[in-house]
Amino acid sequence: MHDTLTQAEAVRPRPATIPGLGRQLRSEEMVINMGPQHPSTHGVLRLELVVDGEEVVEVIPHIGYLHRCFEKHCEHMTNYQQVIPYADRLDYVAAMSNEFGYVIAVEKLLKIQVPERVEYIRVIMAELSRIVSHLIAIGTYGMDIGAFTPFLYCMRDREHVLDIFENACGARLLYNYMWVGGLSHDVPPDFQEKVRAFCKYFRPSIKELNDLLSYNKIFIERTANVGVLPGEVAINYAVSGPTLRGSGVKWDIRKNDPYSVYPKLDFEIPFGKGEKGTVGDCWDRYMVRVHEMEQSVKIIEQAVEQLPAGDVQVAIPKRIRPAAGDLYVRTETPKGELGYYIVSDGTATPFRVKVKAPCFVNLSALPAMCRGAMIADVVAILGSIDIVLGEVDR
């Protein structure tokens, strides 16, 4: 009898007859809401899951719960510098990287060159914040999957970086440290020493993390071959950062469209190779982050050695008025390509600031990754693209 079933019918659950009643069980698609308050959505995100049994047919993300009109605020500032603290709050776990992109954009608009010392300090800060961001991504990802301990290890290591930030600028989360034309103030005298000490401490920590989580059999079972995003689909969705590189695309703006002093520093681009499953699965995306932390340590070590002496601020007028024009500047933040499209009309206030938020774009590819997955895998897939809702909703 089964021979007459087609492949699809055999796989699909068919209405079963309830014994004794002669009635058939209803079988239809069901809609489940995941969020807005759900531990694995890392903030206020609602996913509307259309499921057929355990299988996910469609995922519809609903965003905007954390929308705070960043772009509207920018148009109502009295000057360009006032935007910097707001930029901090986009991706609040890696605030330095957000400032970095914005100040580069405004400096390019003003056609000013900042001292080399500033560039190096900015790169060190950006790479340290990449480590912080990836530690949070890895820690919370482990927790989503069910491993609580790595989270504590990650938070412990993150604390060391936050101490360095606090020592340099007084703040631990939102810094307002990079200013147009330089930095708010120079780093303290023991900065280099502290950063070196951190690098020395952190290398073995990565190995510890690998032993604890990355090559853990249960973790691999939960993430390998799950949520596969092929390279060409990833490019069509314009995803960036570890999510793109996890799909085997060797693309990093620090190398492919270099800015600041990155061309002077030696590092590699880690990308997904399908080591434990298929290229572009959750484990690949996860592992790219681990390798990126190693590369960041390498960059920081070089930058600290090469750090030149000098000023940390060039003289710029208090109210800057860039010539009318527009530009798009993209930088590689921990989450991916953060772009600022700034339009100036020649006044002291930006005419338009548009943010290309990497998390926003990466999240838009979530439905493509989730189709056909199990409900429990949605959690694993969402964690692997590492979103921060502050940036998705702006």
Binding site: I63, G64, H67, C69, E71, K72, E75, K108, L109, V233, I235, N236, Y237, A238, V239, V249, W251, N256, D257, G325, D326, L327, Y328, R330, E337, G339, Y341, V343, R352, K354, K356, F360, V361, S364, A365, A368, D393, R394
Partner: protein, 159 residues
């Protein structure tokens, strides 16, 4: 490819659809195209081998004031590593632009945002609804003439 070559090849293919181009004296060279030809131009840019613009980095909705709205497309190629900017201008009272969702999937959310914030209508978009603002919000907040409503669903907006 340098922007001049891209412009020449677009001009020979589309002729009148290329409204204006500014390649010198600006930070990012741009080409302005007619709104009814957006989709064709984008398919051409993506599929021609020597163009290969496989990534839409950013799609921005603009309010240029004076009854003019616009869309700005930042394109780049991961294969050939070149970039170009496309601009489209439409009147505010008839703000229809062709959707490029079928060309680059990433445009889906960007176009929804441009609709939400500026009020541009993207013809051919599969699911054009608000994305950041609540579904029942009135008006488009990033329009330059936007007035913050006094009440939202009977609640006083506090500023």
């Amino acid at each position: 490819m340098i922007p001049q070559e891209i412009l020449d090849s677009l001009k020979s293919q589309f002729g009148d659809a290329i409204v204006e181009a500014k390649l010198e004296g600006v930070i990012d060279p741009f080409i302005k195209i007619a709104p009814e030809k957006v989709k064709d131009v984008c398919y051409f840019l993506r599929d021609q081998e020597k163009m290969s613009f496989d990534t839409l980095n950013l799609l921005t909705g603009m309010d240029y004031t004076g009854g003019k709205l616009g869309v700005v497309y930042h394109l780049s190629s991961t294969k050939l590593q070149h970039k170009i900017v496309l601009k489209v201008e439409v009147p505010a009272d008839n703000a229809h632009v062709q959707s490029v969702e079928s060309v680059w999937k990433t445009a889906n959310w960007h176009e929804r945002e441009a609709y939400d914030m500026i009020g541009l209508i993207f013809d051919g978009h599969p699911d054009l609804r608000r994305i950041l603002m609540p579904d029942d919000w009135e008006g488009h907040p990033l329009r330059k003439d936007y007035k913050v409503p006094e009440f939202y669903n009977g609640m006083k907006v506090p500023y």
